[in-house]
């Protein structure tokens, strides 16, 4: 069965950019969420084995999603993809359980580097 990848970002342009950056040979099912509430729902529904998560979003932001994942021990590997690249933001998401932090704008090289570094995509 394919891995479920969730892209959670309020910008449709950013979601598209993220989807394009995924390695083409990586056979996964890609799902989308446009805010944190939708994101948590999708993760509960088993659509987020791997989550690419934006931080600044309406309704529930990325920090809120990380808290929800931790609180309910949801099975998701989270890679934060954010435009807020301040040292504080990076530390805060790591302490909330995010696996990695990618600085926006995302591109194929950055995605591949993280996926292989953390062994999420074997052979990447």
């Amino acid at each position: 069965m394919n891995l479920n990848v969730l892209i959670c970002d309020d910008s449709s342009f950013a979601r598209k950019q993220m989807a394009r950056a995924l390695p083409p040979e990586w056979s996964v099912d890609v799902h989308f969420a446009s805010d944190g509430v939708e994101g948590v729902e999708a993760i509960r529904g088993g659509k987020g084995d791997v989550v690419f998560l934006d931080l600044t979003m309406p309704n529930l932001d990325g920090y809120g999603v990380l808290e929800a994942i931790r609180k309910d021990d949801l099975p998701a590997m989270v890679i934060v993809v954010s435009g807020d690249i301040q040292p504080d933001a990076q530390e805060r998401v790591k302490s909330l359980g995010a696996m990695a932090f990618i600085k926006k704008p995302i591109d194929a090289d950055k995605a591949r580097t993280v996926l292989s570094k953390y062994g999420i995509m074997t052979g990447a």
Partner: protein, 204 residues
């Protein structure tokens, strides 16, 4: 003669907003490292704005406060615009202390603080937007529009020869201290067409 510009489509607005988010984040990171503080980043406002609305928007945001402001032109690949940084005058004391500025705070030292902050925020933001659009913007010299003035006085100086243009408003505040400023990016009417083409290409 200039024909009036249509409004932005939802996709175009979203794309401008995302490009700005990234650039604004890079600028905030530079400022955060300079001040050793956390910069709060609200979502930027993107709008096609009429000349008269712009004055209203700026005045609305700073109605009761005295401000100091710097502007700086930028140009590249057929796109030209003006960045304007408005600083709430109440911000200077906190800014001076975060920058570990010693000595009395007078018009001259405030000017230095204003110029330092402006060069970080404007430079990083313009560079960040340009980089994503593959445009190499050249920046003009920063010009002080005024220190400790009413916004109204400040805006009177403008030439205001345009009708409608693209405005990007970015509000920066620093966590736990009283520092507030507003960065406004305005593009010339003719640039917006070129910019929109670049945006449409990214959206394709």
């Amino acid at each position: 003669m200039t024909t009036s510009l249509a409004s932005l489509s939802e996709d175009q607005r979203d794309c401008y907003q995302e490009l700005t988010n990234v650039a604004k984040g890079q600028a905030a990171d530079r400022l955060a490292r300079l001040l050793n503080a956390y910069v709060i980043l609200p979502i930027p406002k993107i709008s096609m704005i009429e000349n008269s609305d712009l004055n209203m928007a700026i005045q609305g945001a700073h109605a009761d406060s005295r401000v100091s402001a710097v502007c700086q032109g930028f140009i590249g690949s057929g796109i030209a615009g003006e960045a304007m940084l408005l600083f709430n005058d109440t911000s200077f004391a906190s800014l001076a202390s975060l920058m570990k500025y010693k000595g009395p705070l007078n018009k001259q030292s405030e000017l230095e603080l204003l110029m330092d902050t402006a060069s970080v925020l404007i430079g990083a933001c313009i560079h960040g937007i340009g980089e994503q659009l593959e445009i190499n913007f050249n920046q003009g010299h920063p010009v002080v529009l005024g220190q400790h003035c009413d916004v109204e006085e400040l805006l009177k100086q403008g030439q205001n020869s345009w009708n409608k243009t693209l405005a990007i408003e970015i509000h920066y505040t620093i966590e736990h201290v009283n520092i507030e400023c507003e960065l406004l990016l305005l593009f010339t009417e003719n640039s917006v067409r070129t910019l929109n083409k670049k945006i449409d290409y990214l959206l394709d």
